[in-house]
Structures are given as C-alpha cells and as structure tokens.
Amino acid sequence: MDEITYAPATGLLSWTWLLIALPAVGAALLLLIGRRSDKWGHWVGVATIGTAFALALGMFVSLGGLDDKSAVTDLFTVISVGDLEIEASLLLDPLSAVFCLLITGVGFLIHLYAVGYMAEDPGRRKFFAYFNLFVAAMLVLVLGGNYFMTFVGWEGVGLASYLLIAFWQIKPAAATAGKKAFLVNRLADVGFLLAMFIMVGAIGSLEFSQVFNGAEGLSEGTSLALGLLLLAAACGKSGQWPFQTWLPDAMEGPTPVSALIHAATMVTAGVYLIARSHVIFALNPTVQTVVVVIGALTLLFGAIVGCAKDDIKRVLAWSTVSQIGYMFLAVGLGGAAFALGIIHLLAHGFFKAGMFLGSGSVMHAMNDQTDIRRFGGLWRVMPITYATFAAGWLAIIGIIPFSGYFTKDPIIAAAFARPGWEGWVTGGAALLGAALTAFYMTRLFVLTFHGPKRWTEDVRPHESPAIMTGPLIVLGLGSLVAGGLMAGSVTEWLTPVFGDQPERHGHLSHMQVTLVTTAVVVLGAALAWALFRRGTDEAPRAAAWPVRLARADLGGEAVNRGLFEGPGRFAANASVAIDARGVDGVVNGLSAAVGGTSRRLLTFQTGFVRSYALSIFSGAVIVVAALMVVVIQ
C-alpha cells in the first residue's frame, strides 16, 4: 500500500482553525453576554455559521486546486510525555472538506429555520449558544488531524447533544432522554478511548498519517481489537445496533436539534470515523464482516420499528437509524463502497434535515402534536411544507430522479457484489430495507398530508413563516438534485482519500438491481398508499405479535431493562445494603462497644474522694508488693 502523507497547509487553507473558531466564539459570546443579548443573540449564531459556510466553500475550492489534496495545520502541543507527542493539529482533506460543507451548509439552513421555530421560546439565545457549540465541536471532530482531536470533538458533540436534547429540561421525558443519550454515548466512548490506548501502545502515535502507515505492522489480534473498539464507538454515536436505543428518545429535543444533530450531522460521525480509519478496517476481514452485519441488521431493525410508530418525529428517527445502517453497510463493504457510504450520508443530510424541518413545520401548525393519526389532509393548508416534504419522501425511498435513487441503489448493488452466499444475504437485507423504507415513509407521508382530516378540535393549521419555509425550499431542492450531482463527482473527489478502487460486480448487474429495487420500492409505497389512503384509527388497535413487538422497539428497551437496568438496580440496592448493614454496622458496632464499655466503667466514678484514695492505696500496695517479690527473688 502507498505511504500516506499529508502536506502542510498554505494560503487560505492555513486558516482552517477559523472555521472552528467562528462558531466557538459565537457560543462563548452568547453564553457570556447572557440575557442582554436575548433580542439579537440568534442572529450572532446565524452569522457565525453563515461566515463559516462561506469560508468552508472557499477552502473547498482552494483544496480542489492543490495537487496533493490535503492541508495539515499544527496549532500547538497538547501533551508531550516521553516519546509521545500529541499535537492539536487540523487536517483538511477531501473527506473532511465535504463534511465541513455539510455541517456548515445544512447547519446554516437549520439555524435560519430555528430563528423562526424558536421565536416564542424564552431560551432562544441559550439554544443558539448550544447550537453554535455543537457546530464548533462537530468541526473539531471532522477537522481533527489525529485521533485525539477527533476524540475532543467527539466528546464535544456528545455534550452539545445532551444539552440540546434536554433543552426543555422541565419536561421529565426530555431530561431523561438527555441523560440516556449521554450515558449510552459514554459507554460507547470507552471503545474510542481503549482504541486510542492501543494505538499509543502499538504504534506510539495518534496522528492519522503515522497510525495508518504503521497499521500494516500490527498483529492480527491487535488490528481486530482496534477495529472492533472503533466500531463500538462509531455504533454508539451513530445509533447503530446495539446502541440504537438513545436516538429515537433524542427526539424530545426541539425539532431543529433533531434535524441538525440527530439526523444530518452528529449521528453520521460514526460513518466518518470508519471512513477516516478505512485503513484499519481494511486490515481485518473479520472487522469488516462485523461492520456489514451491524449495518444490515440495523437498517432492517430501524425500518421494522419505523413501520409501527405513530409519532412523526420517531418514525423519522427510526428511519435515520435505518439509513445510517445503509451507510455502515457501505463502509463495511469497503473498496469502492466507502465513497458510496459518504455520498449517501451527504444526500441523507439534505433530505432527512428537510423532512425533520418539515415535521417541525407541521408540529407548529398542529399545536406541537406529533401523532400522525391525528393529522391528515394537510396538503391543502401548508403547500410549501407539503411540497418540500414530498421531495424528501421521494428522495429517501429512492425514486428517480430524487437523490436517494443515486445514492442508495449503488449501496444495494454493492451489497449484492459480496462474494458467495453472503452477497445474497446482505443484498437481500438491503433490498428488504428499501421496501420497508418505502412502506413506512409512504405511511407517514399519506397519514400526515393526505386522507381525511383527523385533527383534534382546537387546531387551526397554517403555513409557517418565510424564515422557516425558506430553508425548507433549499433543502427540498437539495433532495431533488443533490444525489444526481454528487453521485459521480464526489466519488472522484474522494479518490485521494480512499484510493482508486475498482468497482466490484457480483450476482446482479446494476441494471437488474435498479429494476428490482424500483419494483420493490413502488410495491411498498403502493401498499402503504392503499392501506392508509382513507386514514387510520385515532387510537392504536390491538395487533398481532409482530406489530406489538415493533411498537416495543423490537425489545430493545426490554433488553436494556433486563441486561443493564435490572443488574444496575440490583448493584445499587446491594451497595446500599452493604453500606447500611456492613459499613455502618462496623462503625456503629465499634461506637456501641466503646459506649457500652465506658458506661460500665462509669460506675467506678463514685464521686467519693475516699474511694479514690482507697484505689490509689491499693495500687500502691500492689506495686510495692510486686517490687518486693522481684527484689526478694
């Protein structure tokens, strides 16, 4: 394999730190100035992200002009112990550049939308401060030039995500969801930490270039452990099985948060980590197989649960879980599929953010209700939201010429290209996932916008203000054209990162896959349309066991409860009991023994001088007698 080197940054590219500094300064300003900036604070948030986007665009262009397509900036030394030196370095290469564009671009649109969405909220300034903090942390994550910096950003987005999920912390559900997200992510982050320790131990550096160049010499066990630990971290951040449980609960946060963090950017950090570490993942076929299995499993898991949910945001959340499963599947397949995963990620960022913002617009119109059983017929009252949501819907189910068609079908084709029976299994799973996606997204779309009105009596739906519909229109257009534009060009753009990979052909040709996929997608969508065209019951009906199982998140919660909560509670109760009976028992017993002894000894304190004198005399007699005995002997 070729040696991986990164060139030092020059010109505009030596200002990469400014990309991070802009939103970070925005967050610091908003938090430090406090209430005085309540009136205009949100515009600071929008302006910093807007400037960062312009800057990222400029850097993207000037990066394209470079020969070696990479720019490293060393800022300062963070840790210097013995041979280990950890620099705060930033790396701008084609991979991080497209992420920067996605984060700042989609982030800017969502910031703009949030100005309208959060207009009535007293905490709007704080919201924008956290939002800026998130963007800054996410940029550190993707721009970090070594695993340490990535980890700093990794933890930073975890913190921002926690703050924003629990933004309405007065709601107990939101507070709990925030804590749940934080805890599940911490658990997975242990994987990241251990992976870094292994790198320091086995390679002696955390710099991307040195790790990747030194990875060849690793023993099989080390590369297996390294890959699996990084995968655990990625699964945690991206809501993949078995860490999928926190992502749907994260929908308790404000809708722009769901759009930016829990759909478009942060949850894709896992895909970024795997794509960035593709050298490590390519070393060990076992690790790659595990990534593929987790991707395939999660994409089906998310799609199945998505079919049974009635909350508009939760359906979208499960579809996010499922779509990231596709990306994991792609990066797990390796080779040319790495770029496919990244392209699907970018396209997904557009259409999922658009749909989340659309769902926020619907919630605004419907008094913050989220139950799709009480929507229906909204297409007449909110035409812009309807049109943009339709673009997102067609994009996610992959109808030509919307973006999902160009980004998801190649992943399905790549899944079929795995050799032997595995190809049929992974390809079949991806195909089934596509059919299920078409079903539940059509169900969501039809129940929300078509069919009879099932509104509660107090709602008066209306279209959202221009500041909210503007970003919707841009994202809707993105869902329409982004996939087609990116499909070829981004693959070429990412070649310096992943290398020139030959495309593999397997059991089915591209044409066959496209035809079969389109057929099952249309079938799934038509089935959903036929079933839900006339609306649905306004309360959940008793259902057969598969539906009940899907409504219960396929037992995900039950597993958590049995595997972690139960033993956790037991351990907590046991330690309370040990503390109360054991530790307290020893301490209390000791003090009781001392107290009892002294109470008994008290009887000697008669208060009579003469009795004291008698004891002194007796003592003296005993001493003298003892002396006599010794002297006489």
Binding site: T603, T606, G607, F608, V609, R610, A613, F617
Partner: protein, 99 residues
C-alpha cells in the same frame, strides 16, 4: 540506738495516717492524716540518713517539708472554698464529679 524503733514508729504513723485518710470524713482531719503520712516518710528518710552516715536523706526531708508547706496552703484554701460554698467540710459531700 538501733534504727528499728524509728522505722517501726514511722510505719505506725504512716498506717495511722493512711487509715485516717480512708475512714474520716472531715476534710481537716483527712488533711492532718496526709501530713502525718508525709512526716512518717520524713522520719524514715532521716533514719536511713543517720544509719548510712550521709546527708542525702536529710536534704530530701527538707524538700518534703517545703512541698508539704506549699501543699498545706493550697489544700487549706480549697477546703475553705468548699466550706464557704456548701457549709460543710465533709469530703463525702463534695461529690460533683460523680458519674
């Protein structure tokens, strides 16, 4: 003249003093008994000094007398204070330190 008689006298005086301290209640008498014991000790010291022909014991006796004098001052002051506060010189009445 043999020293035994002096030693026996000293032992008798010490015993009388000790018994007096233990059985009498009046603080003044107890006090006098303490003095008796001290002087019994002095007698012993002087006797042994005479027997051995050194003056160590005699010097020691002077020290004992000086300390006894100081002790008398303090002791009588305490007895006076107790008597004033509780109209009694009985050692059994001063039992505030009883548990």
């Amino acid at each position: 003249m043999s020293p035994e008689y002096y030693l026996i006298l000293a032992a008798a005086l010490f015993t009388i003093g000790a018994v007096g301290v233990l059985v009498r209640r009046n603080a003044i008498i107890v006090f006098m008994c303490v003095e008796l014991m001290l002087n019994a000790g002095n007698l012993t010291l002087v006797t042994f000094a005479r027997t051995t022909g050194t003056i160590d014991g005699q010097v020691m006796a002077f020290f004992v007398m000086a300390i006894a004098a100081a002790e008398v001052v303090i002791g009588l002051a305490i007895i006076m204070a107790i008597y004033r506060s509780r109209r009694s010189a009985s050692v059994d009445d001063a039992n505030l330190l009883k548990a």
